[in-house]
Symmetry: C2
Subunit: 219 residues, 2 copies
């Protein structure tokens, strides 16, 4: 019996690629390339820091990933540009179907659980239409263990006083679904980009192209 729906933030509720527009203004003709590289490197750096036991908050990871993306594209990132682009992470677009779905399932506890640090997550949620729908925001920064480690997901159970079976975990990131499912959550993989399913024995319980599927699962 699902009591709580736990959402990943970046890529699941909020579109990280909405930063492409600002990247394009700051670096003409490179908006798409920089925004994609930035996101890839951000994920890789969070993996590497978890794997090597060298945690820094996601804001730092995000900044370092942006610096790498700019170097890889041979463009110079001064302090002003860096600050403009990092600020974009505080006002990402919400995916179009999200608000309505959250209204439909508001008989459940609705939680965001993200790798983002609180200085990123709290303004993001507050600045968005989701502020009134989300009951709680949990950051991995409270325990400094990144997703997809088991140690990170365990904090969700501990903070919310839940069992694994009471959680539906929703993410567009297949690595997050692999971590959450291995940990024991029921999972919905939001396959927004129509990507192939991962070739690992750990499979999501549900797959859909957006989060509308949730009301079917929990109602």
């Amino acid at each position: 019996m699902i009591k709580t729906i736990v959402f990943d933030a970046y890529g699941t509720l909020y579109n990280v690629y909405s930063i492409e527009k600002k990247c394009e203004i700051v670096f003409p003709n490179l908006g798409k390339r920089i925004s994609v590289l930035w996101r890839e490197k951000q994920i890789e750096y969070s993996f590497l820091r978890q794997l090597t036991g060298n945690y820094v908050p996601f804001y730092t990871v995000t900044k370092e990933a942006l610096r790498y993306a700019c170097k890889a594209c041979d463009v110079s990132l001064d302090e002003e540009k860096e600050s403009i682009l990092l600020k974009e992470y505080l006002s990402l677009d919400v995916y179009p179907e999200v608000e309505k779905v959250l209204e439909q399932v508001n008989n459940k506890q609705l939680v965001i659980f993200s790798n983002g640090s609180r200085d990123m997550l709290e303004p993001l949620v507050k600045n968005s239409v989701l502020a009134e729908h989300i009951h709680q925001v949990i950051s991995v920064d409270d325990h400094k263990q990144y997703k997809p480690s088991a140690a990170s997901y365990y904090q969700v159970l501990k903070k919310l006083n839940l069992t694994r079976e009471e959680v539906l975990f929703v993410s567009s990131n297949s690595w997050d679904i692999i971590g959450a499912k291995t940990f024991g959550f029921k999972t919905l993989w939001v396959n927004r980009k129509d990507a192939p399913t991962e070739e690992m024995e750990v499979r999501p319980d549900y797959i859909a192209n957006d989060i509308k599927k949730i009301s079917e699962i929990v109602n």
Copy 2:
């Protein structure tokens, strides 16, 4: 004082992109794309399995990554094709400068330490000109902890009875260098593709485009 040079295998001594030729024969016009995706996914899956505590040998990781790459390229991989392509991992090309450098530094103990399982590593070394130069092959499979975790590098010290300071660690994979340096090895990053340096505070001790630099460091 360096006693032992520890080499990563894939990408450092052996060219994993030499599989492109066979991929191109099996899947015309897709050789490059499949070989690049295959390698990226192989690394990602090893990270994910380490992060989620769900170890399987690298042979399985490699097979699953190939299956994903083929799905992503919309081509069908039957058993015969899979077997042909996986077999390529047992006879990868050695980078051109490698043999001569190993001869020059053979006053040091020369060791391979790889994520590869022994069923992959042993035929690979044996089938290559490096067989007579490498004194020992260590596989993470003996302890089932993938690089770049500290637990993996620690096995090198234990098996060889060395201190961190006695090791020069050589890898073309920047994530492997980050792990090895965080663990405390002296490191040479073999930047074969002229990639930007990673934007993390952990930096390699030496950087060069091939392994010739080693004789300068240890002699």
